[in-house]
C-alpha cells in the first residue's frame, strides 16, 4: 500500500457510521430508493455525510450572527440596595481580574471569548478549504478539526456560572441576580457551532488528494 493512498470510497466500500463495519452495503428493495444499508446493524450508509458542507455553513453563519448579541447584551443582571448593574461577558472577566482572581479571569476569557471566536474562524477556514478542494496541509487541518471538536463544549462555562449565581443570589432587596438576554444568544452560539462541527465531514479534507493523482479514480 505504499505510494497511492487507497480510501474506502475509492473502492466503493462503505464505512458504517454506527458500527464501523466496512462493507459494500446491502441493497434493500433492489435499488428502489437507492438507499444502502449496513449488513450488520442495518443503519443507512453514505460514503460521506450527506450535504455536509451546506449544512455546516448554514449553522456556522447562524452562529456568527448570534455571536454579536452574545457579546454586546448583558449576560447577568444584578440588582441590590446600591442600585442595579448589567454585566456583559467581558465585564464579568474584568470583574474577576480586578478582584484579584486573575487565573479565573483568564479561564473565563479563554472559554467564553477566545474559544467561540477561534471556533468560528477555524470552521470557516475548514469549510472554505474543503470547498476549494485544497490539498494544503491536510494533516494540520484534520488536527484543527479535532481541536474544534474537543474545545467546543468548554464555551458553556459562562452559562453554568450564571445558572448557579442566578439560583443562589436571591436575597430579596439585598441582592438579586438574573440571567440576561445574552445568555440565550450565547447558548445558541455554543449549540450552533457544535452542530456545525458535527455536520462537517473530516474525510472531505483528504478527498482532493485522491483526485490529484493521475490514473487513479
Amino acid at each position: 500500500m505504499n505510494g497511492v493512498p487507497v480510501t474506502a470510497a475509492s473502492r466503493a466500500l462503505y464505512s458504517c457510521h454506527t458500527c464501523g463495519l466496512l462493507s459494500r452495503g446491502a441493497d434493500k428493495g433492489a435499488d428502489m430508493g437507492g438507499v444502502v444499508h449496513c449488513p450488520r446493524c442495518s443503519a443507512e450508509l453514505h460514503f460521506r455525510k450527506p450535504d455536509s458542507v451546506a449544512r455546516s455553513w448554514a449553522l456556522l453563519i447562524a452562529a456568527y450572527i448570534m455571536y454579536i448579541p452574545a457579546n454586546l447584551l448583558p449576560i447577568m443582571e444584578t440588582s441590590s440596595l446600591f442600585g442595579s448593574q448589567d454585566d456583559t461577558i467581558m465585564s464579568g472577566v474584568l470583574y474577576l481580574w480586578y478582584s484579584g482572581s486573575w487565573d479565573l479571569a483568564l479561564v473565563v476569557f479563554v472559554a467564553s471569548i477566545m474559544v467561540p471566536l477561534l471556533k468560528l474562524i477555524a470552521m470557516t477556514l475548514l469549510l472554505v478549504s474543503v470547498q476549494r478542494r485544497s490539498v494544503w496541509q491536510p494533516l494540520q487541518r484534520t488536527k484543527l478539526y479535532r481541536v474544534v471538536e474537543f474545545v467546543g463544549r468548554w464555551s458553556m462555562l459562562d452559562i453554568y456560572v450564571v445558572t448557579i449565581l442566578a439560583a443562589l443570589v436571591q436575597i430579596g432587596s439585598l441582592a438579586t441576580i438574573k440571567a440576561g438576554p445574552a445568555a440565550v444568544a450565547f447558548g445558541a452560539v455554543v449549540v450552533l457551532t457544535m452542530f456545525s462541527a458535527l455536520q462537517f465531514d473530516p474525510r472531505l479534507i483528504w478527498d482532493p488528494l485522491q483526485k490529484e493523482r493521475p490514473g487513479h479514480e
Binding site: S42, T142, V161, V162, A166, A179, V191
Partner: protein, 209 residues
C-alpha cells in the same frame, strides 16, 4: 490484496488499512491522519459495568443534595441542579434552563441507561433489542454531556459568590466532581467496536428492524 487480515477504513480520512493484532492496552492509530482506529478489546464486561453502576449511584446523590449554599446576613439559600434549572425557567429563560438540564442531567443519565442496558444484555448472552437504534442514539447524544464544564462553572461561581456572603460547599459538589471522573472511566472502558464484536459472536442472531 492477498493478506487475510480484515480491512478497516479510518473514520476521519477514509484510508483503507489492514487490521493488526494488539496486545492488551494498546491503541491503533491511522497511518495517515493519526485518528484512533481501535483499541484492544477488554477481556470482560465487568469493568465498564462496575464504573457504570457506581456512576449511576453517584449521579443520584449529585442530584438529590444541594450543590452549594450561600448565607447572607443570617438568611441562607442552597440550590440543587434541578433547583437552579427551575429558577432559570421562572426568570424567563426557559431555553437556557432546558440547555442546562439536558447537558448536565438528561444526557449523562440517558448515556448511562443505554450503556447499562447493552452491557447487561451482553453479559447474560442476549442480543439487546433495538441495538442499532441505541448505539446511534448513544453516538448522537454523547457530545452533549458537559459535566466537566459544569464543574468548572461551579468553581468560577463559588469565587464570584464569596463577594455576596458565606459560601457553603455541599454534598453534591463533591458528588459531581467524582461523577466527572466516573463518567470518563465508563466511557473509556465501553468500547463500541468490542460491543459489536460481541453482538456478532452471539450464537443466535435476530435481525431487528
Amino acid at each position: 490484496m492477498t493478506a487475510s487480515a480484515p480491512l478497516i477504513a479510518c473514520h476521519e480520512c477514509d484510508l483503507l488499512q489492514r487490521e493488526i493484532a494488539l496486545p492488551p492496552g494498546e491503541v491503533v492509530l491511522c497511518g495517515r491522519c493519526g485518528a484512533e482506529l481501535y483499541r484492544s478489546a477488554h477481556s470482560t464486561l465487568d469493568k465498564p459495568l462496575a464504573f457504570l453502576l457506581t456512576a449511576a449511584v453517584v449521579l443520584t446523590v449529585a442530584n438529590v443534595y444541594p450543590i452549594v449554599g450561600l448565607e447572607i446576613q443570617g438568611s441562607g439559600n442552597a440550590t440543587t441542579l434541578f433547583g437552579a434549572a427551575y429558577a432559570l425557567w421562572h426568570q424567563g429563560m426557559p431555553p437556557i434552563a432546558v440547555l442546562v438540564f439536558l447537558t448536565t442531567f438528561l444526557v449523562p443519565a440517558v448515556e448511562l441507561a443505554i450503556m447499562g442496558y447493552i452491557l447487561l444484555s451482553l453479559k447474560y448472552g442476549r442480543r439487546p433489542a433495538g441495538m442499532t437504534l441505541l448505539m446511534r442514539a448513544l453516538q448522537h447524544v454523547n457530545p452533549w454531556g458537559m459535566l466537566e464544564v459544569f464543574m468548572l462553572g461551579v468553581i468560577v461561581a463559588l469565587v464570584k459568590l464569596t463577594h455576596y456572603g458565606t459560601v457553603i460547599p455541599d454534598m453534591a459538589l463533591w458528588a459531581f466532581g467524582i461523577l466527572t471522573l466516573l463518567l470518563a472511566a465508563t466511557a473509556s472502558s465501553f468500547d463500541i467496536r468490542d460491543v459489536w464484536d460481541r453482538v456478532e459472536a452471539l450464537p443466535c442472531r435476530e435481525v431487528d428492524e
